[in-house]
């Protein structure tokens, strides 16, 4: 039977088992909306296209499935750009559909026309402009495959409006049609042997584990590796939650705002086992002084990451789970008592700390959240100081329980991403930890949250400033504060009321402790405006090779 291309698109989404799409309609996507109305696929209407792509992103991070969003041509498409870049940086699988002006008008600067495939070339894993309706289904098949396999990432499909109205017979292809795209999963056996030899010989190994562990679902293998070889584990920001924050071998996060003992352990180690990481500048600082005494084993599915920033002694291209499964049987069980004793010493010498006074400290908020949720909640964050305090003080135990913009560091990510996460995990307690700066970037999505009846618990760590930028001005610009302190901040509790959400102001530790159990047990959404110490900084902070705090 012949159907329109728009109809075929929706049927293709059903074939891909996509339960939910996030979107915002417009002229060019109306053929699709006309069909979506009668489909079983849930459409979540956001309030800004950036909300759609961030929500799809949060959904994908929370569920490990491909997130799907749709926007119209022109400004609808350009509003997606930040969210696409975020997914690209953090390797999140998304398929993004954009409407386009009719094929006859493409290239004529028509109303709401923009070259979105051109714009997104450097921030997508691949993209397509589908002018021929007969190629639409194979394109969709390929897009989902590319987005979800290898190193995941966003794939965009741009669809001219007239193409969507053409008739095709619906036959969804079984196979992808790609000439050369074949991700390598199995590591080179010789290199794995070499890695095993180095590990067995090493006296002071450190495991540096990143987002790749979560993506390939290798958390169990990572735990086995750490326990068999008695090696402490440090996480990148994106890798947090892949190793229990309460495990005795856990060092916390490393890098710029990492724990001092994690950074010192890396500096002192003789072997660095880098798993699903990319040696980001926030981790390494000056490359020349990073892990100066160590040989480095690097396992990653993306060959281009190996040797990109740092010289590697044993490169292994492959899926980290598959590689670890091959590596584990080659390893000797070792206790490395002296090294672990040294690690304990570092932990005691340089613990994370803050001064608890009678003002509300952001770190205390996170510690209380951790205590009352037993580390089992899914935490979405925005970007800035509150994000780093979350990374430091909420000791994630459940893989994938942190939903946050790492590589791109996109403020405004938090609320829409939390919405996507909660829709993907309806049974879980999802908490948004945000700042007063970030929250104001995408707070209109509160309407989406209410409309979707989502019980999000929102904690604004409110210091009435762009704290992370202010902190940079404090350390690097001689406290010449400019453009970082808000002279006006809305009354968030009144704002919450406008959306029909209960809200509370909290300004002391006691109030927090009293109020928190009730907030967390409220069936619906709650907004908690935490008036924190406005001068608190994120410490430690590695300053050009030295540590502060």
């Amino acid at each position: 039977m012949e159907v329109t291309a728009a109809q075929a698109l929706v049927q293709a989404l059903e074939q891909e088992n996509i339960p939910i799409v996030f979107g915002y309609p417009g002229g060019s996507t109306l053929p699709v909306y006309d069909v979506l109305a009668s489909s079983a696929i849930k459409h979540v209407l956001v309030r800004h296209e950036q909300g759609a792509v961030f929500a799809a992103n949060g959904y994908a991070r929370a569920t490990g499935r491909v997130g799907v969003c749709i926007a119209t041509s022109g400004p609808g498409a350009t509003n997606l750009v930040t969210g696409i870049a975020d997914a690209y940086m953090d390797s999140v699988p998304l398929v993004i559909f954009t409407g386009q002006v009719p094929t006859t008008q493409v290239g004529t600067d028509a109303f709401q026309e923009v070259d979105i495939t051109g714009i997104t070339v450097p921030i997508t894993k691949h993209n397509y402009l589908v002018k021929d309706h007969r190629k639409l289904l194979q394109t969709i098949k390929n897009a989902f495959y590319i987005a979800a396999t290898g190193r995941p990432g966003p794939v965009l499909i741009d669809m001219p409006q007239d193409m969507l109205k053409n008739k095709i017979s619906f036959r969804y292809p079984k196979n992808v049609s790609l000439q050369s795209y074949k991700p390598v999963l199995e590591g080179h056996f010789g290199k794995i042997n070499e890695a095993a030899r180095l590990i067995n010989k090493s006296r002071r190994p450190v495991i540096y584990a990143g987002g790749g562990i979560l993506i390939s679902q290798a958390c169990e293998e990572l735990k086995q590796l750490a326990e068999v070889i008695s090696a402490p584990v440090t996480n990148t920001f994106r890798g947090l939650s892949c190793f229990s924050g309460e495990h005795p071998l856990f060092l916390g996060m490393l890098g710029l705002h990492g724990t001092r003992y994690a950074n010192l352990a890396v500096t002192e180690c003789d072997l660095l086992i880098a798993l699903g990481v990319r040696f980001d500048d926030r981790v390494t600082g000056k490359v020349a002084t990073f892990a100066p005494e160590a040989k480095i084993i690097h396992v990653d599915i993306d060959p281009a990451e190996i040797g990109k920033n740092v010289r590697i002694q044993v490169p292994i291209v492959g899926d980290v789970k598959v590689v670890l499964q091959a590596l584990l049987p080659l390893l000797k069980k070792t206790d490395r008592a002296a090294w672990l004793q040294r690690i304990e010493e570092l932990k005691k010498l340089y613990p994370l700390f803050y001064h608890q006074e009678n003002v509300l400290k952001p770190q205390f908020v996170l510690e209380e959240l951790f205590r009352l949720t037993d580390g089992e909640a899914v935490i979405a964050t925005d970007v800035g100081q509150h994000q780093m305090w979350t990374a430091q003080y909420y000791r994630f135990k459940k893989p994938g329980a942190i939903i946050s913009s790492g590589g791109l560091g996109a403020m405004g990510f938090g609320l829409p991403a939390a919405i996507g996460a909660q829709l993907g995990l309806p049974g879980e307690k999802v908490i948004l930890v945000t700042g007063d700066g970030s929250f104001q970037m995408t707070m209109p999505e509160l309407a989406t949250m209410v409309e979707q009846k989502l019980p999000l618990k929102i904690f604004i760590l409110n210091n009435r400033a762009l704290g992370m930028v202010r902190q940079l001005q404090e350390f690097y610009y001689d406290k010449r504060y400019f453009g970082v302190n808000f002279e006006f901040v809305p009354d968030f509790v009144v704002l919450a009321r406008a959306y029909g959400i209960p809200g509370y102001n909290i300004s002391t530790p006691d109030e927090l402790t009293q109020r928190l159990p009730e907030v967390l047990n409220t069936p619906g959404p709650v907004l908690v405006n935490c008036l924190i110490d406005p001068l608190e900084n994120v410490l430690p902070m590695a300053l050009s090779g030295q540590m502060t705090g």
């Binding site: 070339v121 450097p122 194979q138 590319i146 049609s177 000439q179 060959p303």
Partner: protein
Amino acid sequence: MYHTLTVLVANSPGVLYRVVGLFSRRGFNIDSLAVGQTENENVSRMTIVVEGDALILEQVTKQLRKLIDVIKVSNITAEEFVARELVLAKVTANPAQRGEIMQIADIFRARIVDLGRRTLTLECTGDEAKIKAFEESLRPYGIKELVRTGKIALLRGSKYAGVNNIKEEAL
């Protein structure tokens, strides 16, 4: 150091933009670039000359391989290969100078492809050194316009950097 890369790509819209965009975004320098269809109409071949050390070359190659439309990347610099470039040059030539210029053309095995009242247009192929010498020899007469194709290259003997039997891609 200069490296010669042979890059086979799917003959799809925007593929040149993707490749060139990659070079500019990651700060790699393209010294020369030549593109054209291959023996297979679904495949184009780019010959790219890049300047950089071994580390840069490794990154260029790996990043190119990540592009979905890139089928194969070979660095043929260290192999035996034949490289050619074609140049067209229009030089000032009064009737009295034509003989001299035609002698130069002979030396370089170039051909006269067009004749104007006061100009001659010459075509020459060869490797970089020859093209350079050819250009220098014409310079005294006054080069009005000159255009080069960029280097194209093939491995010598029975080796090949291409791929056989690429079927028509569905897209």
